[in-house]
Amino acid sequence: MATDAPPPSNTEHRLPSTEEFVEVQNSAEFGELRRSYRSFAFPLTVGFIAWYLLYVLLSNYAGGFMGSKLFGNVNVAFVFGIAQFVTTFLIAWWYSRHAAAKLDPKAEAIKSQMEGRA
């Protein structure tokens, strides 16, 4: 917890010092964790927002295309909407798999090293 004063003493864990945090921030291990997180999460965020905006824009300006029927009364707009659900579920699953495989072990290693040292 941050206050203007040094970290409050009533917390359960003693935090490593700022110097230790700076040292870890500049370490190769942390750099790799950050890269591994950002290079996955950032492009994916841009991707799903673009995909969602495409849906919004098509709804607005491509009424004819969105209204074309695919089967029965089900049209492109309906399938597009359902596809947003499906991609949301898939992205959540994909990110969680990446996090469990690539991020958690690295984060865990740095955390236990820092707290062990503290």
């Binding site: 203007d4 359960e12 945090f21 700076v22 997180y37 969602y52 209204g67 996090a99 820092m114």
Partner: protein, 541 residues
Amino acid sequence: MSPVQHTVLAANEASEHRPLIITLFALFVVATLFITVWAGRQTKSAADFYAGGRQFSAFQNGLAVSGDYMSAASFLGIAGAIALFGYDGFLYSIGFLVAWLVALLLVAEPLRNSGRYTMGDVLAYRMRQRPVRTAAGTSTIVVSIFYLLAQMAGAGVLVSLLLGITSDFGKVLIVALVGILMIVYVSIGGMKGTTWVQMVKAVLLIGGTILITFLVLLKFNFNISDLLGTAAENSGKGAAFLEPGLQYGATGTSKLDFISLGIALVLGTAGLPHILIRFYTVPNAKAARKSVNWAIGIIGAFYLMTIALGFGAAALISQDEIIASNPSGNTAAPLLALHLGGIDSAWGAILLATISAVAFATILAVVAGLTLASSSSFAHDIYANVIRKGQATGEEEVRAARWATVFIGIVSIALGALARDLNVAGLVALAFAVAASANLPTILYSLFWKRFTTQGALWSIYGGLIVAVGLVLFSPVVSGDPKAMFPNVDFAWFPLKNPGIISIPFGFLMGWLGTILSKEEPDTGKYAELEVRSLTGTGAH
């Protein structure tokens, strides 16, 4: 039978079975009060009050997050919007769900790792405490109060319809009852009590929605195309009912409004304080991630079922009857329940009573979450860290939070009583737009931008807040429109109902501008702490 007769019948049916409806309402209230008292006995420390002792499992929290998120706007509002405007109403469902990916990928885990009780913990981490916490507390309380008003007004609409209360005094009484219940839930039960109330509500809401969906699909032999076709035909609008554009497609301005709403929906969720504080109730970031995944599953399933709810109502009930009952369609879901059971049968009445009780539970659980978020922020950000400069004990903080709950409850009752006839949808969209404009930029800059400074944080919070609220004030939501809060005056020079398309980029711009024009150097040591903690969980408790 003419639509008018239908409506009269529905109202009679509701009033005949009023004792049943009241019994179900009372049952929920008694059960939740019991939970609250039980939770209150276990709430001793500040971590208990603010974060429920951080001992909830990922599944429990996922359920509670869903219960916190699926508000009256989701359940009653979306069903009504689809029932009246067909496909355009479905945008809400999609936006409200996709928004969770922002929370999952960028916000939930870092927040759990580096904060403690409030959103302000993360925003103020690297900054000068007092100004940034004041700003964070202000925007938390503004967002929560707007959201609260919408729920209170929704409760008034729902209960007055079902119980046949039409007098002003009766409506004020209902708003006061909701307000008193939420004060009791939050001040006694704290986060633990609120969490359990939200879990119970989520189960009831999902259960009720599955039941209605099943009955709708049964009517159409599980043929979705048939359901859509009948809805289009019965709506009187034909194929256009199933295509985008009925509500927003009329003019270039309304199309812009659609984009604005779409952006606010997808970026608002990850800046809603009452959602963010839920991530503190689990032991660690991994559990926070899992609870978001549970929430995405539960909320996604729910929003998929709004298709059956909305198009089912459009297919089985005439447009005139839906509009006669409530001009914005807010009562389409309860009406659908009545029609599915048969308007003259006891089954219809039982279904109506059940769905209404579910809607009531929905409102109470969301209202409790909002009250908790604002009183926590008041006690932890403003009282403990600004007024007492970080010197308050946990016990003093909790006492302040309980008093803040009572105060916020009373303010909400007063405002809710004034707002009882206002357009609720505008208020919810405003809350999302303010959250996306004032909170999200600051959260993202704080976590990911090394150079971000105190001045940047203040400019982006206040800039986003003032522009979002200001634009709404001068929008057709407030004046110059027959459906506006003040229909008889016109000072609406901003043409869009949702300010997001302007105010969200403005919030981001101000954060950037405030930072590069800042005279002070960013605190790089503090950023090292925040970055390492947010990604690794070092020192999280």
